[in-house]
């Protein structure tokens, strides 16, 4: 019986290996750049990976339709696990990847960037925002703000515009993004004399119930609730605060973008929420609206900031490839060197959905200004 069990396993294995072999020698064209993408396409972080990869796919299709430089884009799943991300990376390498767009989430990105650094493959992450991602790797660049940058800007903004109010923070402490912003915010708050009266945490396991944290913030008398978290848990916090008639100023960061369009969410609860974000699906800009319309057409939902970051990544790479006069027959290493030189050169700047005239420094981080918005009547308006 045991033998039979192993035999059936072996058969499953053979089948899958055959399929692997059958598919691996597809389309060996040299006219197109091979772009690999890595992000969580399944599992509990799938929302971010899918958004970024879908956004990138739209950009790739637009560019390919234009003629000129052609891209072949291959998004792979990492389930938000470092090990799977490295496996995905290697499988992309076997496919012949020349440039990497990814990975979407921070922890896998740190592992993958170490590999990409060793292999000299240029990598641009849409949204892995920790400074550990780029530390010590000259070929790793970010499209999003770094976490410290956001925490700092939030504290500065509060010190300037909401001075003297007490703050409660609710953040997710098993997430490098949330923890990173919170740490920078707390440090800067001390400098600026902002009083933090309560800090509540949650983890992936407990991100559906915040009744205790919200009640504690209310109990501590916080006038501002700072939410350096993604919009999904934030929508629960807003709902539960409303249920107990607690109405402080809610202050979010770029992860908050998307809250107005969250399916089924009562957008009126987000009235007067403030947030710092580089992207908004409701801005009246032409490129922005085209992108939003195309995304809605394909995926039947409004794109969030991750999708915009993914979209921008492709265009930034496209611009840099054009500027550096790269051709698809170059090796990954040649492309990598040229792109590093281009991205860090002083005359390369990029204007996309998530900012104007963005530039990169040699450490791989991006310089762009976050915009503060306030939600009024279901629209982002400048305060």
């Amino acid at each position: 019986m045991k033998k039979l069990r192993l035999l059936s396993l072996a058969v499953a294995m053979m089948l899958s290996v055959c399929m692997l072999a059958g598919c691996s020698n597809s389309a060996q064209t040299s006219e197109a750049f091979k772009l690999g993408g890595i992000g969580p396409l399944t599992g509990d972080a799938a929302i971010y990976g899918n958004a970024a990869m879908n956004g990138a796919q739209i950009a790739v299709d637009e560019i390919n339709a234009k003629g000129g430089i052609q891209f072949e884009f291959n998004p792979q799943d990492d389930v938000n696990v470092a090990e799977t991300a490295v496996n995905a990376y290697n499988s992309l390498k076997d496919w012949g990847m020349q440039i990497l767009v990814g990975t979407v989430t921070t922890t896998p990105c740190i592992s993958v960037s170490a590999e990409a650094y060793a292999d000299r493959i240029f990598a641009l992450t849409p949204s892995a925002s920790s400074s550990d991602v780029t530390a010590g790797k000259d070929n790793m660049f970010q499209m999003c703000f770094t976490d410290p940058n956001q925490g700092l800007s939030s504290a500065d903004y509060m010190a300037e515009n909401l001075a003297g109010k007490t703050v409660a923070i609710i953040y997710r402490n098993d997430d490098a993004y949330s923890q990173g912003i919170r740490d920078a915010f707390a440090a800067e708050a001390e400098v600026k004399g902002i009083e933090i009266v309560y800090e509540g945490t949650f983890t992936a396991d407990t991100q559906t119930d915040f009744s205790v944290q919200v009640a504690a913030a209310q109990n501590a008398g916080a006038e501002i609730v700072y939410l350096p978290i993604y919009y999904t848990p934030a929508s629960v916090i807003l709902t539960q605060a409303n249920a107990i008639n607690y109405k402080p100023i809610f202050f979010g960061v770029d992860g908050m973008d998307g809250i107005l369009t969250a399916e089924g969410f009562d957008a009126s609860l987000a009235e007067d929420v403030m947030l710092l974000t580089p992207f908004s699906a409701t801005l009246e800009d032409e490129t922005n609206q085209n992108f939003v319309a195309e995304y809605q057409k394909r995926h039947n939902e409004v794109p969030n900031q991750f999708a915009a970051d993914g979209y921008d990544c492709i265009y930034a790479i496209y611009n840099a490839l054009t500027a550096a006069e790269c051709t698809p027959d170059m090796s990954a290493e040649e492309i990598c060197d040229k792109l590093i030189a281009t991205f860090t050169s002083s005359d390369f700047s990029f204007t996309g959905l998530t900012g104007n005239d963005m530039t990169w420094s040699a450490d791989g981080s991006i310089a762009k200004a976050p915009m503060a918005f306030i939600i009024k009547d279901g629209q982002y308006v400048l305060p």
């Binding site: 899918n50 009640a215 109990n219």
Partner: protein
Amino acid sequence: MTFFLSCLISGISLGSVYAIIALGYTMVYGIAKMLNFAHGDVIMVGGYVCYCALNYLGLPSLVSVLLAMAACTALGILIEGLAYKPLRQAGSLAVLITAIGVSYFLQNAAQLIWGATPKTFTSVVHIELPQTLTNVGVSSEALVTVLVCVVIMVGLTLFINKSKLGKAMRACSEDKGAAQLMGINVNRTISVTFAIGSALAAVAGVLLCSSFPILQPTTGSMPGIKAFTAAVFGGIGSIPGAFLGGILLGIIESLAKGYISTDLANAIVFAVLIVVLLVRPAGLLGKYVPEKV
């Protein structure tokens, strides 16, 4: 004081959701003697069905809940028939692994059907509570959850103790062979148990999502584990035990979050469970069965 009260109330409301899920776990365990790890995912499916009925078909709340129950009942019977029934004679671990396979299947199928983006669930409860109650943190969802939980608990106890089918269930859980000799259709009894358990899962899913309005493919997994813990805590196989275990677990979790540390709330819940099991190895209300030598 108000803070303590609001912690307590949110604990009871969380606990009653755990309790409803734990009731399903306990029933299935009591009869089929299997840990049905896919139970949490049936909850998720229940949530999605109700969500679709409410938002896409525009059905009234009560009809949507009934639809979710019907769908989950069918799903439960289907899972049992396809995946568990062929393994009736196999070891309990084989069934456990199959249940895990079913759980993966449901989660990934849900992601393909409904997408990974979380949906914000619209509450099915539409009751206006007086201001005095909402001020101390009582939400209408919490109230309904607790009421439903008590009703289900009492109903199940009566069903198990009084009805003929309930008697058959108890017989099957004591000794399947003897039950069969007495003319009880064991297979059918187990199927019915799964059907009831899955219908309860649908109710739990709808109430879970009404109180904590995030619906995504992994929604059911953590409450599933917690409810399993609750069932063991109260003594697995015992219906009042599942109820008590669920409520206590919710209260402990809430108070730990409020007064000790939000980081360690889960750890504290599990630590309490361990201590309880060391003192009472069969759980709070579990029957200690001495071993026959």
